[in-house]
């Protein structure tokens, strides 16, 4: 009897649900106290309606607590927050549930990784997804794992692809309806890219869209010399979902091999594209290719931002995209039609975009045996870190890199599971810098910029408090006035910032969370 009373009492006190229905995710803008999906909402905005932390009190932001990881890998996670709990991934293969009140882990799940992983660029992971009472994440050995949200116990595990062929999982999955959708990494190993949807309850594969066509499929003619066999076009970040059209919108990466296009004549579809597939069937509805026949390694692996706006005098449903190739694009998100494009950083490889959005490439800018100087560098004008769209200011925010490289062309011998590169690039040490830029969404015109000494590696969160929150590669977390770029607050963390911030309420008080170095920093106003 005493037990029953105690249990009933405990239930009345806490009652945190940690049960995330699809309706909650679909309407995540209505509960800004939580952060239920990678970008805050399905439209990729990374914007919060919370305004407790605002331009007049941001200078009083102080750390509430800090969570440290044990590994030296880049800490790129974007936390998910559900009813008093925070769920993060820790490199190289862990998921940790943190109690928001105390900052202490309540459970930890560690996936054992083989020692012969096939990775090009470190061992990052960018976060989890949630649905119902499960937490989902991808692993470096290309598995998708579902964990119980309260205990961290494994509920199911599926092999998305064979890691020994060069596949790996690094991006956070995206939940759409009753499915978990995941991309895949491995673009430097000549794999065949895809995005796939899995039944959220069982892990059974529901559909798969291959980003490189095989003979008999449309697009294979864009791969000369049978180069579709090693086409890559991987999908190593999180996409967006448009409820109005039921389309999953996702970016794809470089064609294989990098830097030598001679061995793969043609446009190389669907590399460096944004693809829109039906959320229920995985059937391709439209695509737009940013960099046809890419020879610089400019993956279109950025988070799509879906918004509304007036372009050429007409109200349209838009897809906004600052691309690694240095251009900012405005695309019709219903049909993929190119509407407008403009460079947002220095670029020297093209004269501009034609009326279909195809770049007019300047002859002699491809990598060469003796080296070709081109802006941007391999890292691009921006990279995987999130841009943000604020409906409050109606501005698009991007962390921009100003940097060039000497690109070299080499030769590649394909061997399954081995690095498949054909050349490389060397950065030019002088003349490198960065900036946080606010663009007018319909035109790409610069509204303001905040200059950084070095190229950034972190994304941007904007809020209804009028703040743009980000970090520098030198180790500062910063809050800018989203209207004009004025610096409001700065905190020296001592570690490079390689992640995206999120915000939520803890016991009614707004907090901001962002990783820097080996720490996850939680801030609130004193």
């Amino acid at each position: 009897m005493r037990w029953a009373i105690a249990l009933a009492f405990a239930g009345a006190l806490a009652a945190p649900a940690q049960n995330v229905s699809w309706e909650r995710i679909l309407n995540s803008d209505k509960e800004p106290g939580n952060w239920l999906t990678y970008s805050g909402n399905l439209l990729g905005h990374r914007y919060s309606k919370l305004a407790q932390i605002n331009v007049s009190n941001a200078n009083r932001l102080r750390p509430a607590w800090i969570h440290q990881i044990g590994e030296a890998h880049k800490f790129e996670t974007s936390p998910i927050v559900v009813d008093g709990m925070m769920y993060i991934t820790e490199p190289p293969g862990m998921v940790v549930a943190l109690d928001l009140k105390t900052g202490r882990p309540v459970w930890t799940f560690k996936h054992p990784l083989p020692t012969d992983l096939r990775l090009c660029c470190g061992q990052p992971n960018r976060g989890v997804a949630v649905l119902g009472n499960l937490v989902y994440y991808g692993t470096l050995d290309a598995r998708l794992i579902a964990l119980d949200i309260k205990t961290g116990r494994k509920v199911w595990e599926v092999v998305m692809a064979e890691y020994k062929k060069g596949f790996s999982g690094t991006g956070a999955p995206l939940v759409v309806k009753d499915k978990v959708i995941s991309g895949i990494a491995g673009g430097e190993f000549g794999v065949r890219g895809f995005i796939a949807a899995y039944d959220a309850k069982t892990g059974k594969e529901a559909w798969r869209f291959w980003t490189v066509p095989v003979p008999g499929e449309p697009g294979v003619e864009t791969w000369g010399l049978e180069s579709w066999k090693t086409g890559a076009a991987t999908t190593w970040l999180t996409g967006a979902y448009d409820p109005e059209t039921n389309l999953v919108i996702w970016g794809t990466g470089n064609p294989g091999p990098d830097w030598n296009g001679d061995v793969r004549p043609g446009d190389n579809l669907y590399s460096d594209c944004v693809i829109a597939v039906d959320a229920d069937t995985g059937k391709l509805k439209w695509h737009f290719q940013f960099t046809p026949h890419d020879v610089w390694d400019w993956d279109a692996v950025q988070v799509p931002i879906l918004a509304e706006g007036v372009v050429h005098g007409q109200k349209r449903k838009l897809l906004l995209w600052a691309n690694r190739n240095g251009y900012y694009y405005v695309i019709d998100r219903v049909n993929g039609q190119f509407l407008h494009g403009k460079p947002f950083v220095k670029q020297t490889w093209s004269k501009g975009l034609d009326d279909k959005g195809r770049p007019i490439v300047i002859p002699g800018t491809a990598p060469s045996i003796d080296g070709t100087k081109v802006f941007p560098d391999i890292g691009g004008g921006t990279n995987w870190w999130s841009s943000s769209y604020s409906p409050q200011t109606n501005l698009y925010y991007v962390a921009a890199r100003e940097s060039g490289a000497i690109y070299y062309k080499g030769e590649a011998d394909f061997k399954e599971g081995s690095l498949f590169n054909a050349g490389g690039a060397r950065q030019i040490p002088d003349d490198r810098s960065g900036a946080i830029r606010a663009l007018e969404p319909s035109t790409g015109n610069l509204a303001w910029e905040f200059k950084l000494l070095r190229t950034p590696g972190a994304g941007i969160l904007t809020t209804a408090g009028g703040i743009a929150f980000t970090g520098t590669s030198e180790g500062d977390l910063i809050a800018l006035d989203a209207k004009n770029g004025k610096l409001l607050w700065r905190f020296r963390t001592g570690g490079s910032v390689n992640s995206n911030a999120v915000t939520y309420l803890h016991e009614g008080k707004q907090q901001i969370a962002m990783t820097a170095g080996k720490g996850l920093f939680i801030f609130e106003v004193e």
């Binding site: 830097w259 003796d370 000494l453 500062d476």
Partner: protein
Amino acid sequence: MKPVIFVLILSMSAFPQEPEEQKPIEPLSKATADDLAKGKRIFAGHCAPCHGPAGNGGQGANLAQPRLARAPNDQSLFEVIKKGIPGTEMPTAWQMIDREIWQTAAFVKTLGQLPPEIVPGNASRGRALYFGKGSCQACHSIHAEGGKLGPELSEIGIRRSAAHLRQSILEPEADFAERFLFLRVVTRDGKSFTGVRLNEDTFSVQMMDTGENIRAFWKHELKQVEEMKGKSPMPSYKGTFTKDQIDDVVAFLVTLRGEK
């Protein structure tokens, strides 16, 4: 007791740790003329900017010597190129496939087979000039003795070729390392400081002034930050030393190889 044993066995069988793939590389001596030509080309693009076109040092170490401190054998040379040297500016070669790394390593190895440079001059006379007429120790230190503003010279004979050292004495600005960027800052209340930049980020700058004081500033405290890019505080010794004396100083510097 039993459950513990059971768990241990389970964990060992369920999580097999495969042995790390660390295949020994083919001996670099097996490189063909074609391999060496490819290695040379890669070297010219990726390595020469720091190690010099002939590999005899610059911002990076002098590789034109029979034994490399960080890479005493074929395998370690391959590994250093592949994985870089953490904590230094030597990057990983993640973009290169193993064959390219192997070709580059084979070429680097040939650099050390060149006949040693003949250095005219007398090292002990050079030593006297270094500490006497040249006053080099005002800015440079050897085994922690001497000035702190300029580059440390205890291992300069390993890091630089004689030709590079000669050029640095005659034309200090010809190849000036970014690490020793000379700065002039002016504070809002009008104080001016010059010195070597120690660090800088978007919001702050740290320097050692010409009096060897470490000074740090928030940029908002400063009216002006002047970067003297390509300028060196080191004077040219063209008019100070005779040609023979320069030979002597170079001969002395070449003997500085880390050992006391």
